[in-house]
Amino acid sequence: MLRYTLLRVLGAIPTLLLVIVLAFLLVHAAPGGPFDDERVLPADVEANIEIAYHLDEALPKQLLRYLGGLVRGDLGPSYRYRDRTVSDLIGAAFPLSLTLGAMAMALAIVVGVSAGTVAALQQGSYLDRTVMAFSMTGISVPVFVVAPVLVLFFAVKLQWLPAGWSSSTGASRMVLPVITLALPQIAYIARLTRASMIDVLGRDFVRTARAQGLGTLTIIRLHALKPAMLPVLSYMGPAIAAILTGSVVVEEIFGIPGVGQHFIRGALNRDYTLVLGIVVFYAALIVLLNLIVDVLYGAIDPRVRYR
């Protein structure tokens, strides 16, 4: 297990490095300087700015400086918010994004696994087909379509829930964003659970358990759930990436001051260091969470350790 974990950790490092270097080079390949589109500056002022941001150095040296900063958790200064560093901006916004994402993920796992299991138990029934039709819709329809339509019905027409993000609305302002983020993941997880549950329920050990007189719920709880969860567990990596992507849209639509909103503002304002910092931060987060999922998978299913 230790060997497996170490190999996984070592495998994640080149991925992370590739992301950082690729993103860094992409940003520095941008035609023109980051301060070009403002009023024209005197040449000596511009030279001073370039020195201040180390833009006068050779590219490899800048890259090394950036990597060195990363090790210390320093993502450099923001080009637009002059008095704040990128790490500050991300650090201030991340707890909110994390709360939303974690709640959406928890909701998706609970609802998705339950719906998938129920559908598997009643395979071919009306209920099963309803769950699957909903699941196909949830997978196909993008977050930025679901979110405004939900807002239109539940906030504008019915006025049950707040549409925006003001402090006066309390916890109810979390409801629509979390549901929007969770919906596509509920759909995927329900589909995955249904397929693997049908597979597991057909195995010999389930038949044996049934022959011993165990009830359906007991069989699911004691025997079927764990093996059926393996495909769902390996889907957690993509699910995390999808929730991060979705949070960009959800934060924009609901006006939530999280990391995703900084990303969009940064992208539209050409705040290169901020956008680069968020890409690096998200990539590191995804790689790290994937690593945790991999290690967990190895702990639950010993077979993958020896592949």
Binding site: L26, P31, V141, P142, P148
Partner: protein, 273 residues
């Protein structure tokens, strides 16, 4: 058994075809164009008079024509981007699968590494850094979506490689490139068709996502994503300007996914027979 015996393929294919025909013919039949603003007719709800069946937007532009134009752009991006990912994915996968051994292992390790990247963020980064033009959208989306295709094609090639007809071709002195093109490639068509159908909705998703964020297709041009974005800003007074493009986008994505599923069933049946 013909393709049209499958109800899923028939219905979703029929809807897509209808939408495509409307998108091509609609702007040509309608008396309006996508650019002309009319400040006497801002945010008009859908009406039969004057053929403004989708209403108008906040600048008084005809939303039917704009929506049809948006569908055109969306479908065009999807098809071209899928073609890009098809070429990259098939070439990469076929070579990895056919050569096999260490080359295959290294090539697939690279694909695994790319899988872990948050690609959508890279696409956004690309759009931020470079001028937003159509060509870049095509290439960026195509470059994102070839990984699945490469994996599928590689798996298929790996099993085709061991078949007798490939041995026979090799024994009669046919070169590697020719074996790939004449003997392997035709046998990949079924599975490639299925996965292209499933790549198209992904490409549509990325394009409309970018346009929704204001990073994709730029005004006065439009796409379904940009129309949804405009609709969000007007939804309190003019819900149709959100619901129509959102509904059409959802319908198109749903149909492509159903079509892909149907095609997969169809080709699977043939394989097992």
């Amino acid at each position: 058994m013909s393709l049209l015996d499958n109800r899923m393929i028939r219905v979703s294919g029929g809807i897509l075809l209808t939408i495509a025909v409307c998108a091509l013919a609609g702007p040509w039949i309608s008396p309006h164009d996508y650019l002309t603003t009319d400040f006497d007719r801002q945010l008009m709800p859908p009406t039969m008079t004057d053929a403004q069946i989708f209403g108008t937007d906040d600048l008084g532009r005809d939303l039917f024509v704009r929506t049809m134009l948006g569908i055109r752009v969306t479908l065009l991006v999807a098809v071209v981007a899928s073609a890009v990912s098809l070429v990259i994915g098939v070439a990469y996968g076929a070579i990895a699968g056919f050569v096999g051994g260490r080359v295959d292992a290294a090539m697939m390790r690279f694909v695994d590494t790319l899988y872990a990247l948050p690609f959508i963020f890279f696409v956004i980064l690309l759009m931020v850094v470079f001028e937003r033009n159509f060509l870049l959208i095509f290439v960026a989306i195509g470059a994102v979506n070839w990984l699945d295709m490469a994996r599928i094609v590689r798996g298929q090639t790996l099993s085709l490689r061991e078949r007798e007809f490939v041995d026979a071709a090799r024994l009669t002195g046919v070169g590697t490139a020719r074996i790939l093109l004449r003997h392997i490639a035709p046998n990949l068509i079924g599975i490639v068709v299925v996965y292209v159908t499933l790549t198209i909705p992904q490409a549509i998703l990325v394009e409309s996502f970018l346009s929704f964020l204001g990073l994709g297709v730029q005004e006065p041009q439009t796409s379904l994503g940009a129309l949804v974005d405009a609709g969000v800003n007007q939804m309190e007074g003019a819900s149709w300007s959100l619901l129509i493009p959102a509904g059409l986008l959802a319908l198109i994505l749903l149909c492509f996914n159903f079509l892909g599923d149907g095609l997969r069933d169809f080709f699977d049946v043939r394989h097992t027979n």
